[in-house]
């Protein structure tokens, strides 16, 4: 396997695993919890690193970080429940504190890797601060592939097996609880998987990309559809496209792979925002324009139906107070539809146009 292939495949695994869970996070309005968790896994990784005596050990790191992630969720929920602090402020309190602890521990006890702390965020160097450095190539690629492939599978199974429960508790938590679906258990299961995915990805691609992949593709899909299965599928697709395009772009520009993947994901979101068939900004504007034009054209037809002779454009403009450009647009539409005929003396209805105008609504 070439290293390019390994990197892109790992990224696709990360994006797929994230998109599966992220779709539910976005719908449950817990997107920022993903941000908090992905930062808070740092102290968990540091702790595991310390416990295992400085060895590069995958299992303790996964467990430690998952525990840190759950700790974050629990702390945020506890703070919110006390009623003293609002939910968003609680998130903003917990994760910087935990992240600070992580940074502090790295600077204090793992001095020689101090500078590599940025790698935690860049993520191009796997196992960011703790390893004898290796290029992100053949050596490491397969291992991250194993981790992320496994996590993707686990997440996929979780979503498939508990799809009905997840859907119900996401859209109507009250009903889910009343029917005995234990939404709280499901909630913590989801959060545990998010933590696990975050730390698995943390090791292979860094913290920014996790947040980007957990939130941006599902948010993009959210703009494109109103159906949950379609949304999840689209989110996975957007994630995969971002992975491939981001990698190509990173190679072309010699820039951070994770950064460019996040950038592409952001750009795709922007495209969806502008051009989505359901409520995209430009789509909506175009539709409004078209409706305005069509309405004007029908008005014009009705007006012309009252006259036996062709009406000069000047008279129409005076009558409706339109700008000449707007009249031209309406006229163009009506002519293309075969309702209006050009005439040297002015505007004249075709037979079809007269029939349409004569119709009683």
């Amino acid at each position: 396997m070439s290293s390019d292939f390994v990197i892109v495949l790992t990224a696709i695994f990360v994006s797929t695993a994230s998109a599966l869970l992220g779709s539910f996070l976005v719908l449950r309005r817990m997107a920022l919890m993903a941000d908090a968790i992905s930062h808070a896994v740092l102290p968990g990784i540091v702790l595991a690193f310390w416990v295992s005596g400085g060895e590069r050990a995958t299992a303790p790191a996964l467990l430690g970080a998952a525990a840190a992630g759950l700790l974050t969720v629990t702390l945020v929920e506890w703070l919110t429940r006390t009623g003293r602090i609002k939910n968003d402020a609680a998130i903003g309190l917990v994760f910087p504190a935990l992240f600070s602890l992580g940074v502090l521990a790295v600077s204090l006890y793992f001095r020689n890797v101090h500078l590599d702390l940025d790698a935690v965020l860049y993520g191009e160097i796997a196992y960011a601060p703790f390893n004898t450095l290796e290029a992100f190539g053949l050596n490491l690629g397969p291992e991250s592939l194993w981790i992320m492939g496994g996590l993707t599978l686990v997440n996929l199974l979780f979503v498939l097996l508990f799809y009905k429960e997840l859907k119900l508790s996401t859209f109507d938590a009250g009903l889910a609880a009343a029917l005995g679906f234990l939404p709280a258990v499901l909630h913590y299961a989801l959060m545990s998987l998010v933590s696990l995915t975050a730390v698995g990805a943390f090791q292979s691609v860094g913290a920014i990309l996790i947040v980007a992949f957990l939130i941006i593709p599902p948010a993009t899909a959210y703009l494109l559809t109103q159906r949950l299965p379609v949304m999840i599928a689209l989110a996975v697709l957007v994630g995969a496209v971002s992975s491939v395009l981001g990698y190509v772009l990173a190679i072309l520009l010699d820039a951070s792979i994770a950064g460019m993947m996040a950038t592409v994901a952001g750009l795709l979101f922007g495209l969806a925002w502008l051009f989505s068939p359901v409520g995209g900004v430009l789509t909506a504007r175009n539709r409004r324009e078209r409706q305005r034009r069509e309405f004007a054209a029908r008005l014009l037809l009705a007006h012309l139906a009252h006259h036996d002779r062709p009406v000069p454009a000047r008279e129409v403009l005076e009558e409706f107070g339109w700008s000449p450009a707007f009249l031209a647009q309406a006229q163009q539409w009506a002519q293309r539809e075969g309702l209006l005929a050009g005439d040297p003396n002015g505007l004249r209805l075709t037979a079809r146009g007269a029939a349409l105008a004569g119709e009683r609504p």
């Binding site: 941000d35 006390t82 968003d88 600070s100 940025d118 947040v211 980007a212 010699d254 996040a262 950038t263």
Partner: protein, 385 residues
């Protein structure tokens, strides 16, 4: 003490402490408004969004003058906030997802630009990445001056528009009915938050900036219900965490300032949450525990009262009635005895005068409710007679 004196004598420490204190001051003041307006995480988004601004400013101008880079950061943060508002207004995407998209998208782009600059071989670029985690030790006098000017402008504007901001925070609908430009004021407040972020980039960095806007304000909120007091307290907490964090980080080598400032602020918040008068959680817990204990004792007394009046009050009978172990029932009787409500020894126990009075009072108190809730109960009984 030597350390504190160091603030005045040691040039580096003085600059670091001043920078952190300024950040705490401005962050505390603007954070108060942001948290009350439920926009706590806006600062986090603005900070992350600042990174591409810094990189673009460097790419376009080729300088590393702090003011230029900070202006780039501010501009990018400001753009991000406008984009966020536009998305919020035009789609049904939930607010937190919108924040997340802007945050990670801009930050990813920033990281991309940063690595692009680093790999382009320009030796001038070294140090741009200090903005991610902050590197307070690199703060020099010139930077402090820049921060002071920026912060001064922000604080001056808050001072001048305090009344308007207060109204905007608590009752935007009323503010709008008074003819205040609510949207403009909101944008201005957000722009001032951008300034706070610009001040914090060098000291605590992009990632931890959120805490400097949230923690002091959240701590101050616990101590008071008045906005003016809260703003002052929040500023004071901010300055305190800034200075303490800077001083602690100077005690040893390799102690990064930013995380220490953030941890100090977090500890102040934790302390306030637990122990602030009235709102403190500890007082809450104590109240709950006392109530629980009182209610348990009262129910115990009522049980004893019933047994004493209609049967025998012995540890066995009490245990049976309360479905508990006899040994436990004995302990409970002793608890009642300690209050002077029952007397006795071994098998035979009786209620004291005081115990009767208390049980009677409780029964009366309990009787009020059923009557009030179900008036027919009394009438029905009367009618049947």
């Amino acid at each position: 003490m030597d350390l504190l004196a160091g603030i005045f004598t040691d040039y580096t420490l003085r600059n670091v402490a001043l920078g952190a204190a300024l950040l705490g001051l401005v962050g505390g003041v603007l954070g108060s408004f942001a948290t009350l307006r439920r926009q706590s995480l806006l600062g986090d988004v603005l900070a992350h969004a600042a990174l591409p601004g810094i990189c673009l400013a460097f790419l376009l101008t080729g300088t590393k003058a702090p003011l230029i880079l900070l202006l780039g950061a501010g501009l990018a943060g400001w753009l991000a906030s406008l984009l966020m508002l536009a998305i919020l207004r035009s789609t049904r995407l939930p607010e937190d997802s919108t924040l997340g998209v802007i945050l990670s998208g801009f930050f990813g782009f920033g990281i991309g630009l940063l690595t692009f600059i680093q790999h382009s071989g320009d030796s001038d670029q070294a140090g741009l990445d200090k903005f991610i985690f902050g590197q307070a030790a690199t703060v020099v006098g010139e930077d402090v001056l820049t921060m002071a000017v920026l912060g001064g402008v922000a604080l001056l504007l808050v001072g001048l528009l305090y009344k308007e901001f207060k109204l905007l925070t608590f009752d935007p609908a009323f503010a709008s009915s008074l003819g205040l430009p609510v949207r403009g004021l909101g944008t201005l407040l957000t722009s001032l938050t951008v300034i706070a972020v610009m001040i914090g980039l060098q000291t605590v960095g992009v990632v931890l900036m959120a805490a400097m806007l949230i923690a002091p304000a959240a701590a101050a909120r616990q101590w008071t219900n008045r906005l003016s007091t809260m703003v002052w307290l929040s500023a004071a907490f901010g300055v305190l965490s800034g200075v303490l964090g800077a001083v602690i980080s100077a005690t040893r080598e390799n102690l990064p300032t930013g995380p220490l400032v953030v941890l100090t602020a977090s500890l102040i918040t934790l302390f306030s949450l637990l122990l602030a008068p009235e709102r403190g959680l500890v007082w809450d817990w104590r109240r709950t525990r006392n109530n629980r204990r009182r209610i348990r004792l009262e129910r115990l007394l009522l049980d004893a009262h019933v047994l004493y009046n209609h049967a025998e009050l012995t540890p066995e009978s009490l245990a049976q009635r309360r479905r508990a172990a006899p040994a436990r029932a004995k302990e409970e009787l002793e608890e009642l005895a300690a209050r002077g409500w029952v007397t006795g020894r071994g098998e035979r126990w009786e209620l004291t005068e005081q115990g009767h009075a208390e049980a009677h009072r409780l029964e009366q108190a309990m009787r009020v409710l059923p009557k009030a809730l179900n008036p027919r109960a009394e009438g029905g009984a009367g009618g049947a007679a």
